[in-house]
Symmetry: C2
Subunit: 230 residues, 2 copies
């Protein structure tokens, strides 16, 4: 087995990028808190169902709360158009060749939004289990999604991103039997890299588990808890 390390110049450049990102993320977090908006970010592989999950979440939350979303992709604004059907304001962040969102992209995308008019802001990262892990976006809650079709081994192979998240959501749970998903093994692997990680099972297709997720999300942001705007 060979382990390959980046050269010193790359390491230094990377360290500076992360440091600058952390500063912007800290400022964002303060701004979110002052505005009383609860910010949830989503990371996963491409195709784990982030957008389907978010579409269903926005539609359900919009009955009682004010929501908005930012969605990151290398190319296309298909996801933003899809999510806009929920009635929430949605903006696409197109990253070109970058494999993750950075706090500065979130900041500039929010430029003219009055955050005090929102209860929840969702930030969907680029589909990638590696690059987004080290970039704080100022979020309050980071969800990592893992679909039953991807295999139970992914937490062990991408430990950093599972470690950086607050909640694991197992998606496409309606397909669990069809792919012989081993629930015990998946949970054991998640808890090997993130011992206290809570895990929810969901299907955006059938709606299974959505009530539990919405109850959890709104427990973080009950109605009437926003700071009064003056």
């Amino acid at each position: 087995m060979s382990t390959v390390a980046a050269g010193p110049r790359i390491v230094e450049v990377r360290r500076n990028i992360l440091k600058r990102n952390d500063e912007i993320a800290r400022a964002l977090r303060t701004r979110f808190q002052q505005a009383g908006v609860f910010v949830v970010s989503l990371v996963s592989s491409p195709g784990s169902g982030k957008t389907a999950f978010l579409e269903r979440t926005l539609t359900l939350l919009n009955r009682t709360h004010r929501t908005a979303a930012l969605v990151g992709d290398l190319a296309t604004d298909n996801d933003a158009m899809r999510l806009a059907r929920s009635g929430s304001p949605v903006r696409q962040i197109t990253t070109g060749t970058m494999c993750h969102l950075e706090a500065a992209m979130v900041e500039s995308s929010l430029a003219d939004w009055d955050l005090s008019q929102l209860d929840f802001l969702f930030v969907e990262n680029v589909g990638n289990l590696v690059c987004p892990s080290s970039f704080d976006l100022g979020e309050n809650l980071r969800l990592v999604l893992l679909s039953v079709t991807e295999g139970e081994d992914k937490p062990l192979k991408y430990p950093t991103i599972f470690n950086s998240a607050d909640l694991a959501i197992i998606t496409k749970a309606d397909l669990a039997d069809a792919v012989e998903f081993d629930r015990d093994l998946a949970e054991r692997n998640i808890h090997t890299v993130a011992p206290d990680m809570p895990i929810l099972y969901l299907s955006s297709k059938t709606g299974m588990g959505m009530d539990e997720w919405i109850a959890l999300a709104t427990s973080h942001r009950p109605l009437g808890t926003a700071p009064q705007s003056t």
Copy 2:
């Protein structure tokens, strides 16, 4: 929509990395050709089924050809152990936090292998639809795998990696009906970003499509075409 570009210093560092990678890849390609080994690389999202596909491929090819594999992952050597069951020599490349393989990693992993003893060398990249696209590994054929469970839109959202590949393989085809996979839409999306890309449908679970793939692979490397080692 906002488009975010990297700063000039990062662009320059990145350009130098790619230039150096291309030089090593060129040297590798010459070495592969002289040894008479046909090199196939695999890229895809995490969980698209690269390892299952490769396990089945090695087992089938080993009846008539000499094969070996390199597998890239951030952490664990699970895939190398799994693939070694095929009887092929397999080496794991552990990348740590790097989201792709580079030609230098392939070169150093091959250090003591006598390539003239091989007909096929497979190189499984880190599961990632972004980062591996720009890194030439000296391969003869690059496969991009897309599972039916990931959604038909992925080629449009990750155009560069589809563009960099020579052949698209749609995996987990046995689940196509269960996930209501739209074959026409997927093919149209692939051909939007890579107009002449050939597409194969496969299931590593049922074996569907494997004969066609093995026929295609061996057409590139018929028996008895290796240069004679002296």
